[in-house]
């Protein structure tokens, strides 16, 4: 063949291949092939929905892409950082007087420390810098920690964040004045109960006559009556709160005839969410409900994409053909346990997570929801050790009536922190909210019963955490001692 023909053939093949690849990228199919590397943490649940983070228009310059990308981090993590009273907020570094620091670690951008798709260098908390990153700014000038804190003279920079002393963002339980304020407290309070749990668990139960009254008033189709569900419901908080069968099975119906006509045998979770809004909202922020997160990009819209590519009025037929081709709604509607990256029991695979996974809809058995449901799936060391732990013994003692309500410590006590507002208890259904770094758990959870000192020591001992706190911490973190010393002997350490 002539050289010219070969050139034409080569160009045609290259263009054809590029067209096929971009058609796949922009309009169809499974896009995992375009992933530069595995995403980390909860991000893997929506990694095929690329547009959640990658919002820039094609061919934008690098600076704009970085800005757009970083905006999306804040979209989802803003509230969390605000609640943490972020020690290094972006706004602090935007001032041009911080320009000298931009060359060290550019703290105006999340991606300077948290770079996605780089599993080989990703540490806990999606950190993609070496663990001694504090050295970049806190080793010279006014910020030199060894000058400001003589107690820190012999310490190395890889221990700032790994020791249980400091976090980059969340120091709400670790700041100096807080340490001093809670110094010298006994490891266990005289009255070790978790206040919101006291309210939740002290709820009066319906007595036999009330249950009879509720049962007599049931309005439901004939064939749906007479099962165990009736009696379970009659003893539940739903019955006491005047939420009858129709409330969930026929939410828009009012009269018995309407209820029978509109009866839905297995109502979906949107029925639960219509009343339990706060729970549903927080559920979508954690790993169990992440696929419902309001900020995830919607599944791709072929019509919009064709318009973006310059086809202003695509025929209906082309659009519907493309919609059929898009076999993968991105992301998949529900997270299945089979996709989880944590240790789970083999028999727990292939399950979707909805409200009813943990909450039996009629029984409202909170002890199942707060422990049993978790242990049905989770099989990591910490979970497996729970039933042998002192925290679990307290649950048994509380159930036996030997300890007051609020004494028992379930999985949910620590992982689904509860808060009380005007007598109403709200359970945060984002079970990841206080998980990383684990010092986030100290104030809302640990300190209900334990001293700050004990909490810091215990959470810094990874083996103890794995054993579900059977035993005592194998280390003592000296942060409180040093903070107290600095206040008691100001001339020995303060800046005076």
């Amino acid at each position: 063949m002539k050289t010219g023909t070969l050139w034409i053939l080569w160009i045609a093949l290259t263009l054809g291949l590029a067209a096929a690849a971009s058609a796949r990228l922009y309009v169809g199919g499974d896009r995992t092939v375009f992933q530069p590397g595995e995403t980390s943490g909860v991000h893997h649940q929506f990694e095929v929905s690329c547009e959640t983070c990658h919002t820039s228009e094609p061919f934008e310059d690098q600076a704009s892409i970085r800005k757009d990308l970083n905006k999306t981090c804040v979209t989802c993590h803003k509230e969390e950082l605000k609640a943490a009273d972020d020690s290094h907020p972006i706004k602090k570094f935007k001032n041009p007087r911080m320009a000298a620091y931009w060359d060290r670690i550019d703290a105006r951008y999340c991606t300077s420390c948290h770079s996605e798709h780089e599993p080989e260098i990703t540490e806990a908390g999606l950190l993609t810098l070496p663990g001694d990153y504090c050295v970049a700014c806190h080793s010279e000038g006014e910020q030199d920690v060894r000058v400001n804190r003589p107690s820190h003279l012999g310490l190395t920079f890889d221990t700032c964040a790994s020791s249980g002393c400091h976090n980059y963002h969340d120091n709400k339980a670790l700041y100096e004045d807080f340490l001093v304020k809670h110094a010298g407290e006994p490891w266990l309070a005289d009255d070790p109960t978790h206040p919101p749990s006291v309210i939740a668990r002290a709820r009066p139960r319906a007595d036999a006559s009330e249950i009879e009254t509720y049962l007599a008033a049931i309005v439901a189709p004939e064939d749906a009556q007479g099962t165990e569900a009736d009696t379970h419901w009659a003893a539940s908080a739903h019955a006491a709160a005047d939420v009858g069968c129709g409330g969930c099975h026929a939410p828009d119906a009012e009269t018995p005839a309407e209820i029978e006509a509109a009866w839905e045998p297995a109502p979906g979770e949107q029925v639960c969410a219509s009343c339990h809004r706060g729970q549903a909202k927080t559920f979508a922020l954690g790993r169990h409900g992440m696929r419902r997160h309001p900020e995830l990009a919607n599944p791709r819209d072929p019509e919009r994409m064709l318009k973006r590519l310059g086809w202003s009025e695509p025929p209906e037929m082309v659009v519907s053909a493309l919609e059929d081709y898009l076999a993968d709604p991105a992301p998949a509607p529900l997270m299945s346990t089979s996709e989880a990256r944590v240790d789970l029991h083999a028999e727990a695979m292939g399950r979707d997570l909805t409200c009813a996974t943990c909450h039996a809809p009629h029984e409202q058995d909170l002890s199942f929801a707060s422990t049993g449901a978790c242990l049905t799936c989770h099989s990591d060391d910490h979970s497996l050790a729970y039933e042998d732990s002192a925290h679990h013994d307290l649950v048994l003692a509380e159930m036996a009536g030997d300890l007051p309500p609020g004494s028992g410590v379930t999985c949910a006590t620590c992982h689904m922190s509860t808060s009380e507002r005007r007598g109403v208890v709200m359970t945060n259904h984002n079970q990841n909210d206080t998980l990383r770094p684990n010092e986030k758990m100290i104030r809302p959870v640990c300190m209900s019963c334990h001293s700050l000192e004990f909490s810091i020591d215990a959470l810094a001992d990874a083996d103890l955490v794995q054993r579900n706190f059977q035993g005592t911490p194998d280390r003592h973190i000296e942060s409180i001692d040093w903070a107290v010393k600095r206040v008691d002997q100001p001339d020995q350490g303060s800046n005076q």
């Binding site: 602090k92 935007k94 001032n95 041009p96 007087r97 006014e142 800046n495 005076q496």
Partner: protein, 187 residues
């Protein structure tokens, strides 16, 4: 609808005309703009310090002012009040930025970080009643930088700064220059 920045500009121009500053249809020089910005900042700051913090925390003693105002259910410190405002501005615009700095800061973050900040703070401390103006290059951009003295206007200022465990200076008194407000405009 006016954007927040347009409102700020309108306010500045309005204030400039009222004061007889060098505002004109062609715009204002940098010095006039920073002078006017500072006038608003220092007035609000003095009002908060005297009428809220000093009155309630020092004179009437009905509430504390604390750095950990949420945990302590207390008033925001005047310096924090100023910083939160400046951070809110930073989130809205990069057309100007400002901060409250000192050669004797309780919080090390508020020590000078650029040579011009240091020069400016030293100048206003040595020349009471005078401001400092200059130009500096930061992160590849040239800025007009103005430094204004920040004066001890109420007992709350020197009482707290002299007694704080982290203060590098303990002899502040009424009328002293305790630090400076630095305002920058990219040129």
């Amino acid at each position: 609808m006016m954007t927040p920045m347009a409102k700020v500009k309108a306010l500045i121009v309005g204030a400039g005309v009222a004061l007889g500053g060098s505002a004109s249809a062609d715009g204002m020089d940098y010095e006039t703009v920073t002078d006017l910005l500072h006038l608003v900042m220092s007035s609000d700051r003095t009002v908060y310090t005297r009428m809220i913090v000093n009155r309630l925390a020092v004179e009437e003693g009905v509430i504390k002012a604390s750095e950990h105002f949420e945990d302590d259910k207390a008033l925001v410190l005047p310096a924090q009040m100023f910083r939160f405002g400046s951070e809110m501005v930073a989130e809205e615009t990069d057309e100007f930025s400002y901060s409250l700095l000192s050669l004797w800061p309780i919080n090390k973050q508020n020590a000078p970080t650029t040579p011009m900040e240091k020069e400016g703070l030293e100048y206003i401390a040595a020349n009471p009643g005078e401001n400092f103006y200059g130009e500096e290059e930061l992160g590849g951009e040239t800025y007009f930088t103005a430094v204004y003295p920040d004066i001890a206007v109420a007992e709350a200022c020197w009482a707290c700064h002299n007694d704080h465990k982290d203060t590098p200076r303990t002899d502040f008194k009424a009328g002293d220059v305790m630090g400076g407000v630095v305002i920058r405009i990219p040129m």
